[in-house]
């Protein structure tokens, strides 16, 4: 126990355990993070334990928790466990707590600490969504055998053929821990040729595959539904060229977005897209989901900035469409088919993308608005008056702000004096520091006088700007920490957008929290319903209502995340039957056996493997 005089080292424990309605074993994971009294991260450890003897684990954890923060000396047995009920977990947590109950000499301050420590022992329960329960494995697919594995080992080398249970558990589980497959094999090709050989083989064997990038997708598209072979492109992470005159970047599909951003930064360019998952997501994944993100309002969609692609078809054919031309009207623009098709038509292996020059003057304002109408009017005004320098226009409601403040460490409310109903981030990017700043300030002051803004702050340095962005970008993470979440990513005309949120609040009452934020500048609402548990009754309150509502207002049920597994069967809310049928024909043409990312994107009714 730390004495009251020294800054108390604090310990942070987070537990999650997974179960699935299909009767798969429970998985229990614990992350132990020790922070020093000054708040810096000292060590982090993740492991899984066999939960046969709760008190034994408590003893292990106890040791970990009470050891000096710089060292967490415990080793876990990484195995799946067959825990029975919540009570085991609860008892286990109480055991840990008891190990830390204040001893006699502790002062009341320690008891304070103790209370906090107990709050840190929170555990999230994650039931995997029930989608897999209603989908049947396509019987015409073959099952992986040892010959297949040997073939891949010969082709790729031992190291690139992964059968390790731990690695597979991660690769089988999506970012939200909502979808989980049971693949037995992960392949990590290093070249287009290897990808081509893999697909050719899988196609001949009718072995289904899932292309995987950074596995940050939010619709269950990046993980297997059953036993599909996972093909991760992460080892293909070379930057091939950057034309410093035109700003055209050519790279392999496995490059992590953030690495591209910093590579370009060194050469005076920026990526035309940026999003909260940049530290993990890959450009191939971004292209395959046609990711939108925070700067779309300025730089447009990937359909415009991607100039060329190399993709491998299901039969192993390599399509070289890796053009670097801004203009090229020769026949059908086939690369567009691969932008946003979520790995269902081919595996993207190389990308050529037009990157704008980096401009030195970036300003960011974090603003409060009293109602949604003001946010809307502010957007109209911003487009009109800041048009040439506007680079992001994001919004969040006060439930979102609450959530971030409660669930993310180190986040500070920039406008703490009173609670506001809505918050807006406006970013400008330009080339003249004083001109841009003056322009933005003049705009904001005018908006404030006109009553559109009730309060606001303007970042004075990059550090402040990052902490404002953290609030908006940290929302998916905060929601994850809050527990199970139903996510909807909708395009809805701006005027109508927030009506849906209010209707959902009324529909759900106290059963779940409705949290809304999004890319207001692109009419893109992220509607999130944070629930105490995944519950079919709650789901029935949300779906199909949200989809019907969106369809009625001629919106899209997937603005930027894609359809994946989550919405494959709901495509017709946004696309006509003729369109969907043509999509099915294209799929059949490019992937006749349906081995590429099966069960995703298109409705079940269209799919078949003969």
């Amino acid at each position: 126990m730390p004495s009251a005089a020294t800054p108390a080292p604090c310990y942070f424990l987070q537990f999650s355990f997974y179960s699935s309605p299909l009767g798969l074993p429970f998985f229990f994971t614990a992350t132990t993070i020790a922070t020093s009294g000054r708040g810096g991260l000292v060590a982090a450890f993740t492991g899984r334990w066999e939960l046969l003897d709760a008190s034994c684990i408590a003893r292990n954890c106890g040791r970990a928790v009470s050891s000096p923060p710089s060292l967490l000396p415990f080793v876990s047995a990484p195995r799946a466990l067959h825990a029975s009920t919540d009570t085991t977990i609860m008892r286990f947590l109480f055991n840990i707590r008891n190990l830390h109950s204040p001893t006699a000499q502790c002062t009341s301050k320690c008891e304070e600490d103790e209370k906090k420590r107990f709050c840190w022992l929170r555990f999230d329960k994650r039931f995997f969504g029930s989608a897999a329960a209603v989908i049947e494995r396509n019987a015409s697919f073959s099952t992986l055998n040892s010959d297949d594995v040997s073939y891949f080992k010969d082709l790729l080398g031992e190291k690139s053929v992964v059968e390790d249970e731990d690695v597979l558990l991660t690769a089988n589980t999506d970012w939200m821990r909502k979808y989980k497959g049971s693949s037995k094999l992960l392949l990590q090709p290093k070249s287009t040729h290897e990808v081509s050989q893999i697909l050719k083989y899988c196609n001949s064997r009718c072995l289904p595959v899932v292309p995987q990038g950074g596995n940050t997708g939010l619709v269950g598209g990046s993980v297997p539904v059953f036993d599909e072979v996972i093909i991760n492109i992460g080892s293909m992470n070379n930057i091939i060229s950057l034309d410093k005159v035109s700003g055209i970047l050519v790279c392999e599909a496995g490059c992590i977005l953030e690495n591209l951003i910093s590579f370009l930064d060194n050469h005076g360019f920026v990526m035309p897209l940026d999003l909260g998952a940049k530290g993990s997501c890959q450009i191939g994944g971004n292209v395959s989901t046609n990711a939108g993100g925070l700067r779309l309002v300025r730089y447009g969609s990937l359909h415009g900035s991607v100039l060329g692609l190399e993709a491998v078809l299901a039969n192993g054919d390599v399509l070289d469409m890796l053009g670097t031309l801004r203009k090229d009207n020769t026949g059908y623009d086939l690369k567009q088919l691969f932008i946003g098709s979520e790995g269902s038509l081919g595996i993207v292996t190389k990308v050529s993308i037009l990157t704008p020059p980096k401009l030195s003057s970036v300003n960011l304002a974090f603003l409060a608005c009293k109602d949604y109408f003001s946010c809307q009017k502010l957007l109209v005004e911003a487009k009109r008056r800041l048009g040439d320098i506007l680079s992001a226009f994001e919004f969040l409601d006060n439930q979102s702000m609450d959530l971030v403040l409660n669930h993310l460490e180190g986040v500070r409310n920039p406008l703490p004096s009173s609670m506001h109903n809505f918050y807006v981030l406006i970013e400008t990017t330009g080339s003249d520091e004083s001109y841009d700043k003056e322009k933005l300030e003049a705009f904001l002051l005018r908006a404030m006088e006109g009553g559109l803004i009730s309060d606001g702050v303007l970042s004075q340095d990059i550090n402040q700007a990052s902490s404002f962005w953290r609030i908006r970008e940290g929302l998916p993470e905060a929601l994850m920490k809050a527990g199970p979440v139903y996510k909807y990513d909708l395009s809805i005309p701006v005027e109508k957008m927030y009506d849906l949120v209010e209707e959902m609040r009324i529909r759900l009452g106290q059963t779940a929290k409705v949290v809304a934020y999004g890319h207001l500048g692109d009419s893109n609402l992220h509607l999130n319903i944070s629930a105490p548990q995944y519950d079919d009754k709650i789901l029935a309150q949300i779906e199909p209502y949200v989809y019907e509502w969106t369809s009625k207002h001629r919106g899209s049920i997937s603005a930027e995340h894609g359809l994946g597994l989550m919405k494959a069967n709901h495509i017709s809310y946004s696309k006509s039957p003729e369109t969907v049928r043509l999509m099915g024909s294209i799929k059949k043409l490019l992937d006749p056996n349906g081995i590429l990312n099966p069960y995703k994107v298109l409705p079940q009714s269209l799919k078949s493997c003969h």
């Binding site: 000054r38 060194n266 406008l415 002051l445 004075q460």
Partner: protein, 251 residues
Amino acid sequence: MKIMVAIKRVVDYAVKIRVKPDKTGVETNNVKMSMNPFCEIALEEALRIREAGLASEVVAVSMGPAQCVDTLRTGLAMGADRGIHVESTTGLNPLNVAKIFTRLVELEKPGLIFLGKQAIDDDCNQTGQMVAGLLRWPQATFASKVVLDKEKQVATVEREVDGGLETLSLDLPAVITTDLRLNQPRYATLPNIMKAKSKVIKKYTPQELNVDIRSDFEVVQVTEPAKRKAGVIVSSVDELIDKLKNEAHAI
């Protein structure tokens, strides 16, 4: 009582520093410049003291090129009452700054001076100490807590030293330099940015203040730190031990 705060315009803390190709210094062209983080903390502390009713005015001072006015505007938007800009196109070293500052103290007669403990661009950590020396005032550097007693005219300052805290008591007027954990600076709100526009920034030149700015030293060369070599992945403990022994000579 009046408080004077020195605020320096530096390359933004988050910017990756690049050395000029001719090795004469750091690239500042087209680079985001901001207020030195330690100066921000110094200003914040002064503002809190004023807000607690222990001081009547906070004057922010910045020295350097014309754009220092932007940094001063940030300071005014945070809440400083007025600004002083000593314009100089030639580079100023800590002794130059300390001499100019001392002249301004003679003109303004503050009861307390706050400076950041160091500027993140040259990391000199000298200016505050020099100002105190030139003025023959008591000083407390690296402050992590400041308590003022208005009646006794005494400042009690805690500073973090190796393995603990040291508490000093200083008679006012005094010089205090600020450390990272003293406070968390506020943001510039729109109403305050608006108010700052009408606040006064007075201009001087070193000549007007009768300070001769020359340097007793010359910067010979500025170079980047050596690049870290990429790591290697070893396949076994034996290989690791072998490498540690025979390549790194660490064991």
